[in-house]
Symmetry: C2
Subunit: 222 residues, 2 copies
DNA sequence: AAATAATTGTTAATAAAATAACATTGTTAT
DNA sequence: ATAACAATGTTATTTTATTAACAATTATTT
């Protein structure tokens, strides 16, 4: 019996934080640090040291007392947990501003996770390469996804095309979808779906700014 | 005693969902619907009807039995809660692909929340207008923010400039920050900060795709 | 007119996440 | 050598968020 199933009940939030810890660790490593304390990681991520230690406990990693955690070891362990051994291929569907932003942002950052194809319907874009990522015609989506074994797609098409695009991707055998359009999409339960809406995020910021402003007014008018 | 303080202890998740409910409601309204059931909202957002009803209970809104919720009323109520009466002005700092994507994405969507300025250091961009949003030199950030009363900034600069940009924005009197760079930033407690990292999100999707794949293997090898 | 079904609103229960508490253990200082 | 300190690792507690349960009510069907 292998040990790989050990991590299948990690809290969702822990998964997200592990990714962030790794990013912080890679940065520290590149600056020549070899060890790091929980409170250092915590302060980078604006969380508490206890949270960090608890997460590391959950993945079974132990540091050294008064010396902290070995950065290289921890990076490797996090990689074993969240990365896929063979690597996962990703496609961007919709090579507009957001699609291109994601490619630039991502290129070469994670070798186990690489964007290898972009799709668009605009003939001016098809055939070009952006940051090493070729742009194909959206009509060839299924073909390329199957041929290349692409497992994840990021949807950055105009909102009105979101659900049709999603359907095509599911039909092409995609395993995970990340939807950046403001239009919620439906997928079968065997496809992992994550949706992110920038308007909601901005409205949330606006709400808390409003609340802070109201609080201040209350204080000054007492 | 006014009633506006009533909503200052709504759960964070409820705030985010209210924004999403409103979006769904606006869509339904534009299609000529006048009322909607909790399960309809729920299915658009991939959540449960109970969750919807509970959120609406928290904001004190009542529907009609067997008829559902009045869409217009609910849109107005959500607006009263999350929007700021006078409106809030937003700036985009960094007019690269992501900055431009946000502007296109957002333009004219919410009249109480509008992006009215962009900043960049690239002379080719300064002086241009994108989707009605003028791009100013980053050196004028403080001046414009103060003059226009901009309260929220979205940071879409290259990661290496993130923290300096944040410091300048805080010094300029910004109240809320939305950081889209992969570099966590520090702000004083009186500034509301929200950070979003696309790599983390994608890695999370990759993790769950990996888990699903492993599960399937387990099943087929029993 | 009675029974059934559909829906809301609310309380109660459960689950998930975060935080606190604290025992343990090396390290440094006295 | 001892005391004080600074860190980890883990259990317990609290808080936050979600889900379940169900009473109440109205519309629809028989």
């Amino acid at each position: 019996m292998e040990d790989r199933g050990t991590f299948d009940n990690l809290p969702h939030k822990t998964i997200a934080r592990l990714s962030q810890y790794r990013r912080a660790l890679l940065l520290c490593l590149s600056r020549g640090k070899s060890h790091i304390f929980s409170h250092e990681i915590a302060s980078i991520q604006h969380i508490t040291p206890v949270q960090v230690r608890r997460d590391l406990m959950l993945i079974g990693y132990s540091g050294t007392l008064r010396k902290g955690y070995n950065i290289k070891e921890l990076i490797n362990l996090i990689g074993n947990i969240i990365d896929s051994e063979e690597g996962i291929k990703v496609a961007i569907v919709g090579m507009g501003n957001l699609g291109r932003a994601l490619i630039n942002y991502f290129s070469g950052k994670r070798h186990k996770l690489s964007i290898i194809a972009g799709f668009d319907t605009n003939p001016d874009k098809i055939g070009n390469t952006m940051n090493g990522v070729p742009c194909y015609s959206a009509t060839r989506m299924r073909e390329i996804i199957e041929k290349e074994g692409i497992q994840i797609a990021i949807i950055t098409v105009p909102a009105e095309n979101a659900s049709q695009t999603a359907n095509e991707l599911v039909a092409a055998g995609i395993k995970g979808l990340l939807n950046y359009t403001p239009k919620p999409i439906d997928v079968p339960e065997y496809v992992y779906l994550e949706e992110y809406d920038m308007i909601t995020t901005l409205e949330k910021v606006a709400f808390y700014v409003k609340m802070k402003t109201l609080e201040e007014e209350d204080i000054t008018t007492i």
